[in-house]
Symmetry: C2
Subunit: 397 residues, 2 copies
């Protein structure tokens, strides 16, 4: 079989396994995303070995998560994000500080060196907005206030997390200057301004014209503009040292308020159905389950996972307490999955040689466990009937 | 910028250039596909140098052409393909024999060795169903009889062409046995039977059940089945030595007659709009225009191009003559573009070391020129008002 044939066979496997796992979990009334990750673990190189980890797969995974965040952005009204802004910032900030300090103290307390303690702390600050957004999207709950707070906080987290990662890996490599930190902070602020002020105004003015131009030429020009901006913003975010998905998310938000947004959402749906499950299957493919479940790795991994969950639950929950206890709990759980973000931090630490492969495996275990545990918990919390509010009229008995 | 950032920036460039070129040509009332190829030539490594040829791009190109052929297949009713079957087979056969003999005699006459003459002949047998299908699709003419004959003949060509290529490269490498030829022929027949008998029956019976199952679980299961079969058939076709796109085309045809086909076509549309222009831009990116336009390469290249066009015009035209002169002319022109198929043959000859890089460039020139010239000609022929038939009542003067 040629390289092309192998790629198409892999796509067949990834897509079929993802749909099978997702459908099985949906039938069990569990989040489809968990079924997709588990399907990936099963077909991956460490269990059935049907599929290997390859650079081509990373292309599909990256494309899948970029479209996921773009489409999630498309569901967010900038105005409503503004409204929850204050809560989102405090949830994001406390949700970074608690896990970072917790992870750092745990590792230092167990006698690990400074560098690895800092890296574990950094990995624990991460939030996988993808997984929570996917669960919310599956439950049609993206419009709720908790979802908006979580998404806002997760993006804030991602931006701040990238800064922390840059600082920590600079410290670890001993190559960091204050000027570089300043540059990264400045670029991040400039990017946000560019996206939300310039980009938003441009799209607001361009899209009605493009829409009528597209009707005249018989092609979907708004879709084309959306794709162009999605790729441009993602590449730009990556260029200045932020995650590409932040750019995609901002591009989505910009298009969320144009009159053509509902049609654009429909157009993005098939691309989502094609690429997003493949992304989650590939998260599973990267998991070396047999190695994670050894007696050597498991105890520390479980401890780190516990700190990861408690850190977000306490940090985010405290910050979200003004919204009510139930919402604070949902937000704490929703911020818990580390998913691909935790894995990316681990990969970066490993490739820069500042972290041992043992710690790498622990972070992977923590990322996988938080990603597998949070969705069912979130689903249970969101679908559980709300207790009647104190001031609501009671039903007649 | 990371690898991810570079990939996203390239996608931005490829997509934006393709849409810009395509729209400019559409406004000039020319086929968008030509504008996309030219956009690729302009941004490619040999002119502006904004983008390089890379393995990642090949992934997108391959995916684009697989979806293109799948979607073209979705527009074809197996019944109507059956009806034009006899014409398609004779158009395909004569459309291979004439260019093959013409190319072979030309090269031998100019004193080139046997191997290279055989390879040029083989490259001239190719038909790029993608380009003609795209022009027909842009003009909403896929349902016409000429389109059905061309598509049927092009698929027949592709299957036979792969066999010829296998035989010629086996001869050139001196490694061919009769048993291997027999195996390839047998596998090709088995694949067609599997696709059209087993696959068609399975989809016909499965899709209504999946459709109601999908409504119950809220997910588009027919879309999922279509993707799974598209990838599976493509990989299988590649595995047995046919082109992957033949598998995708067959998968599309199978789904064309299910009740859910219109909805499936709608779902495939955004994936088409995303990936297909990128495929055509990447055809342009592979073209080394400055090198092709040297005095050394140009004369022979133009001669080969002339033989390529005349071979298809005469061969296919003769075979299609029973359909009428005008249809025969359209079919001859529609079969002329060699596109990516010619380029693939050239690449294969080059990589197996049986062809000099000079001949490689000539074949690329021929592929590009036939691909650029055929679409405007086809468009002019298809949109020109038909002359009134002899028995039609004349308009009052």
């Amino acid at each position: 079989m040629s390289d092309t044939g192998r790629m198409l066979f892999d796509l067949f496997l990834l897509f079929a396994a993802g749909r099978a796992g997702g459908t099985a979990f949906a039938l069990l009334r569990q989040p489809a995303v968990v079924g997709e990750i588990i399907a990936g673990i099963i077909i991956g190189p460490h269990l059935l070995g049907l599929i290997a980890d390859s650079a081509i797969h990373d292309v599909f995974a990256e494309l899948g998560v970029v479209f996921l965040l773009f489409i999630v952005g498309l569901e967010i009204q900038p105005r409503s994000l503004w409204q929850v802004g204050r809560h989102a910032v405090s949830v994001g900030a406390l949700g970074m500080i608690f896990p970072f300090v917790g992870g750092y103290l745990l590792m230092r307390g167990l006698g690990w060196p400074l560098t690895e303690a800092l890296f574990v702390g950094t990995a624990l600050t991460a939030t996988s907005v993808g997984i929570t957004a996917r669960v919310m999207s599956d439950l049609a709950a993206l419009q709720t206030r908790v979802a908006q707070v979580i998404l806002g906080a997760a993006v804030f987290d991602d931006i701040l997390g990238m800064l922390v990662l840059a600082v920590v890996s600079g410290l670890a490599a001993g190559t960091l200057s204050g000027a570089q930190i300043g540059l990264l902070v400045g670029e991040s602020i400039a990017f946000c301004v560019l996206a939300f002020v310039v980009g938003r105004q441009a799209v607001r003015h361009l899209s009605p014209r493009l829409s009528s131009f597209g009707e005249a030429t018989g092609r979907d020009t708004v879709f084309a503009l959306a794709m162009v901006l999605c790729f441009a913003f993602s590449a730009l975010a990556d260029l200045i040292g932020l995650a590409a998905i932040i750019g995609a998310f901002f591009a989505g938000i910009i298009f969320a308020e144009i009159p053509d947004a509902p049609r654009l959402r429909n157009s993005m749906q098939p691309i989502y159905e094609f690429l997003v499950p493949i992304f989650f299957v590939l998260i599973g493919v990267k998991v070396d389950l047999p190695n994670l479940l050894t007696l050597q790795a498991l105890p520390l991994g479980l401890l780190i996972t516990l700190v990861a969950i408690l850190g977000k639950l306490i940090g985010c929950g405290l910050a979200a307490l003004p919204l009510g206890k139930r919402e604070a709990l949902i937000i704490g759980v929703g911020m818990a999955p580390r998913g691909e973000v935790g894995i990316v931090v681990a990969l970066m630490g490993l490739s820069r040689g500042v972290m041992s492969s043992a710690i790498y495996s622990e972070i992977i275990l923590m990322s996988v466990l938080t990603s597998l545990l949070a969705p069912p918990a979130l689903r249970a919390l969101l679908t559980r009937p709300q207790p009647p509010a104190a001031d609501a009229a009671g039903a007649p008995r």
